[in-house]
């Protein structure tokens, strides 16, 4: 796990160097450039990891809630005292260093969820338990949303995997999936057409299942709910979402083509990755990323640099590293004796998976552009520190299991 982590961090550092490489600052250690700073972040992140490894494991379990509440206070504080960088009021500026509390809220929330779920008498059949869990999640999410950082706010959706593993009815996962499909269908097609299709499917189902009253009622009820959902999609889409989100979704679905505006990022990102070919253009030879055709090429779109310079081979390696890390975390989580450690482990996997999936899907034009970083790889001190803390707490918890 540690070696996978180091591999990703190293790839990130090199990619950042290549993405913003400039002939006047050739040294990768140049402190005036992003890659030089990233090196400092990496060194300090490793120091943080060491501190976590040296901390008593009981500390995390015992202080889960205090840490969580402390982070909530910080999130409130940033709303009041924070400074605004590129539209989001989510930064604390300390000297020349900027920190983003939203990144750190992730591991704090994960600690709180793990702590709460691992206590006795909490299960998904109790309305009270579910409510409390939702509050734990919604509180940071809402505060981050208020900071105008939508990407970081929706990360908390990732906990659905933790809940699923810990006994949440599987139907919720399926309902979630159906909702997404219906949402997309409605935007692409006429809502009435979708409802009629749905109706036809229901009629067909009637023929194939046991025709008792109970089944029919359930089926009819589901049909009504889905129809209502379909009808509300357009309303929600037009009123609840902001314009730039709407355009991003429209561009992705092919409803709008706007290569100079909202579609520019994705198009340029595809060009950069696509032009990489099988083996890429070689280190420092990427033109699309280096010459700024791809925006945010060292942060959210760092994967473009990998795709362009190392091609299909390099991209697959990165995807493979992430998948290996995620599966490794789940396997390690499953072997934990304490529920707290296991749940926390699943939380780590879920958060990392969500970031990985959304970020790469976005650069590949499979998902709307949502500004969240690729863990360990993207440029940024806050996210690197936060993901390091997130992962290394789990490593610490696991190491205790071995020592015991």
């Amino acid at each position: 796990m540690v070696s996978l982590y180091l591999a990703l961090v190293l790839v990130g550092w090199i990619s950042i160097y290549s993405a913003i490489y400039d002939e006047n600052h050739q040294s990768i250690f140049d402190m005036s450039q992003g890659y030089g700073k990233q090196m400092v972040w990496i060194v300090t992140a490793l120091f943080l990891a060491l501190v976590i490894i040296l901390t008593d494991f009981k500390f995390f379990s015992a202080f889960a809630f205090p840490i969580y509440f402390f982070m909530i206070l910080i999130l409130i504080a940033v709303l009041i005292f924070g400074s605004t960088i590129s539209g989001s009021k989510s930064w604390f500026q300390i000297g020349s260093v900027s920190l983003q509390p939203a990144e750190f809220a992730k591991f704090a929330t994960n600690l709180a969820i793990a702590k709460y779920l691992s206590t006795l008498n909490v299960n998904f059949k109790q309305f009270k338990s579910v409510g409390k869990m939702l509050i734990i999640l919604l509180l940071p999410s809402l505060l981050i949303f208020l900071q105008n950082d939508t990407g970081s706010a929706i990360v908390y959706v990732a906990f659905i995997f933790v809940f699923y593993r810990e006994g949440m009815p599987g139907a919720i996962l399926i309902i979630g999936l159906i909702s997404v499909v219906l949402f997309i269908m409605t935007l692409l097609l006429n809502p009435v057409a979708v409802i009629i299709t749905l109706f036809v499917i229901c009629i067909l189902l009637v023929f194939f299942m046991k025709r008792n009253l109970q089944n029919l009622v359930i089926l009819f009820g589901m049909f009504l709910i889905m129809s209502a959902f379909i009808l509300s999609v357009n309303y929600a889409f037009d009123n609840a979402l902001e314009q730039h989100h709407r355009t991003r979704i429209n561009v992705l679905l092919g409803i709008e083509t706007d290569l100079k505006g909202a579609g520019y990022n994705v198009n340029q990102s595809l060009i950069a990755i696509g032009s990489g070919g099988l083996t890429g253009k070689g280190f420092l030879n990427g033109t699309q990323t280096k010459y700024n055709f791809v925006p945010e090429q060292s942060t959210d779109f760092i994967f473009c640099t990998v795709g362009e310079e190392w091609g299909f081979a390099g991209s697959i390696v990165i995807v493979g590293l992430f998948i290996a890390l995620l599966i490794r975390i789940i396997i390690v989580a499953e072997r934990q004796r304490s529920n707290f450690a296991r749940i926390y482990g699943y939380g780590v996997a879920s958060i990392l998976f969500f970031h990985f999936a959304v970020n790469i899907a976005m650069t590949l034009g499979l998902f709307p552009v949502i500004g969240i970083p690729l863990p360990f790889v993207s440029y940024g001190g806050s996210s690197l520190w936060a993901f390091t803390i997130l992962l290394f707490i789990f490593i610490k918890l696991d190491s205790y299991r071995l020592n015991a």
Binding site: R165, G276, Q288, E334
Partner: protein
């Protein structure tokens, strides 16, 4: 606490989802990176800029090695509107020499083209102005100067022959893939005829740019770049000093002078008057000046030497005499009597003794004599009828390249007119025409039309006693410093050399005989031969023509002069031709008083 084991199986679902997502990414990556190649193309479009490297156009030298055409650097002021920030507009306008409205207009035009790409703000700033602007330009971000070349003519002469260059038209681009928008191409004259020699070969530089179109260096260290290849230099046959002298003699007159070196067919001077300064048709002033020249009622853009057609008048006697001698219908000693101004059916405008022989009739330009000669040719019993005899006569005339073009390197020329027998068949009816009907031909009038160039070639033929080299303007092309001389085929007329001697003698007497039409302009230092022509002009005063060559033996220059509406051939044609020959053969000579007269004479009121 939740029972751990109860839901352990669900880890398989979660791992499954992770693997599925991973596979979707792999498939998508494979599709866009390996299968689909449109992104490579888009990436190249994004980042690569193909910059044409223009070669230097070939230079033009005259026969004495004097530079006639060269390239001068001019400077376009370029702008990228997006980079223009916080400039003192007023000061900038003063620097460039424009007013504020013009500035706003030009900026708007540039912005409409592209806010990020470079476009021309002010075209072709002169070298002097550039030096002044350059040192202050750093204060105005977004502006810079891009050099390009203009044609320059150190001696403002021979505008028609040299021609001019201009931007290629869409039609020219379609016809030849070498050209791209903004390229320059020869539009007329030798610039057009020798376009492929002069233009050289364009080079290509591929450079990479960033998202703001800033240059970031060469692509693959320039392995795909090509260097421009400079154009080949031309050595023209013109004598630029003679050309300029002739243009001066012809100023304020309409007409033309053509001079040829008989032994080679090289054109020494090709003057069409009025002419213009070739420096007027370069760069930013070109379209304005072109329109003005185009609108001028004297048509300075019209190349009279190659395109204007005149009846040859009495100069045609020099063609008729050798034909008649070759046909054996007369001998040099044959005499015909002349009735002078009352002669019929052709009267004589010259007062002379009678009868005259063939030689004297050239010396003194007797019209009735040549009417009789013409009649003898057409009524020759050798031929079945008038038509057959006429066809025979016409083939002789055609062998002097009359009624035909030369097709050398002159780009444009007219064939003149020697009427086909069908023309008379149609006009008078088949078998209805006789020598009498077409008698105007005998004195070079009627339907007979020649260009000054053709007329001069006739003189060259007489000077050579029967052959000529097609007249041309370029002697040699310099390829990689090696001079490649242009070869032309020697062409013979249907008349034997001996039959030209009486004509030469007659032309000699025109200058040197006691009754010669050009005797007033005789020069002791050069043995000149000439023939006057006074061409009847239904639209006004007669045209003054004169043909001549010199010296009599081994002639070095043949010349034809046409001055429109100038009266007798000897009035303008003879003095101008004489001066031109003296200038070419002697360079420095004691200037006769009529030189100044010719410079100053203006016939503008007659046009």
């Amino acid at each position: 606490m939740i029972e751990n084991k109860a839901y352990e199986g669900r880890k398989i679902v979660i791992i499954g989802i992770i693997i599925v997502i991973g596979m979707i990414f792999a498939a998508r990556l494979f599709y866009i990176q390996v299968i689909n190649d449109k992104y490579v193309l888009s990436a190249n479009n994004n980042v690569l800029r193909y910059i044409t490297q223009y070669p230097a156009r070939g230079l033009v030298y005259d026969r004495t090695g004097k530079l006639m055409v060269f390239n001068e650097a001019a400077y376009d002021l370029m702008v990228v509107p997006k980079l223009v920030k916080n400039i003192d507009t007023l000061q900038f306008c003063r620097l460039i020499g424009i007013d504020k409205e013009a500035f706003i207009k030009k900026m708007k035009k540039a912005r409409n083209y592209s806010p990020y790409k470079a476009s021309i703000f002010e075209e072709q700033i002169s070298k002097e102005h550039y030096g002044y602007i350059e040192e202050k330009l750093f204060k105005y971000p977004g502006f810079w100067v891009q050099p390009r070349t203009l044609r320059k003519y150190p001696i403002p002469a021979a505008a028609h022959s040299l021609g001019y260059i201009g931007e290629v038209s869409p039609m020219e681009i379609e016809a030849n893939p070498y050209y791209a928008i903004g390229d320059y191409i020869g539009k007329s004259g030798i610039e057009k005829a020798y376009e492929t020699e002069l233009r050289g070969k364009k080079g290509l530089k591929i450079s990479m740019v960033d998202v703001f179109n800033r240059e970031k260096g060469s692509y693959q260290n320039g392995i795909y770049d090509t260097l421009p290849l400079a154009g080949n230099d031309l050595y023209v046959s013109l004598d630029v000093e003679l050309q300029a002298y002739g243009e001066k003699l012809m100023q304020n007159k309409k007409g033309s002078i053509v001079a040829i070196e008989p032994s080679t067919g090289e054109i020494l001077a090709l003057i069409s008057s009025p002419t213009y300064d070739p420096n007027l048709l370069i760069g930013r002033i070109r379209s304005k000046n072109y329109n003005e020249l185009y609108a001028d009622s004297l048509k300075p853009l019209f190349n009279r030497a190659l395109l204007a057609m005149y009846p040859p008048g009495s100069t045609f006697k020099t063609v008729e005499a050798p034909i008649a001698l070759q046909e054996g219908v007369v001998t040099p000693a044959t005499t015909f009597s002349c009735g002078g101004v009352t002669a019929s059916p052709i009267k004589c405008s010259h007062n002379h003794y009678s009868p005259l022989n063939l030689i004297e009739a050239i010396e003194q330009s007797c019209n009735p004599y040549y009417w009789n000669v013409f009649r003898k040719i057409i009524e020759n019993k050798k031929y079945a009828n008038t038509r057959e005899a006429y066809i025979n006569w016409k083939s002789y005339v055609n062998s002097f390249n009359l009624g035909m073009t030369f097709n050398t390197d002159l780009n444009i020329e007219r064939s003149g007119n020697v009427p086909a027998p069908e023309y008379y068949d149609k006009y008078f009816g088949k078998g209805q025409w006789r020598s009498m009907t077409i008698r105007s031909l005998s004195i070079g009038q009627g339907e007979l039309l020649v260009t000054p160039l053709q007329l001069c070639n006739v003189v060259a033929i007489i000077a050579n006693r029967g052959y000529y080299y097609p007249p041309h303007l370029v002697r040699a092309v310099s390829r990689n410093k090696v001079r490649e001389v242009k070869e032309y085929e020697k062409k013979f007329t249907k008349v034997e050399p001996g039959n030209f001697e009486p004509v030469v003698e007659g032309m000699y007497l025109a200058y040197n005989g006691s009754h010669g039409t050009a005797r007033r302009y005789k020069m002791d230092s050069i043995v000149m031969c000439g023939k006057t022509g006074t061409v009847q002009n239904p639209h006004g005063e007669n045209h003054s023509l004169f043909i001549a060559f010199a010296p009599r033996d081994n002639p070095r220059i043949a010349i034809a002069v046409v001055v429109e509406n100038a009266g007798y051939g000897s009035a303008y044609g003879t003095p101008i031709a004489t001066l031109m020959m003296a200038k070419y053969l002697l360079r420095e000579f004691e200037r006769p008083t009529y030189e100044e007269e010719m410079f100053n004479a203006s016939l503008i009121s007659r046009y």
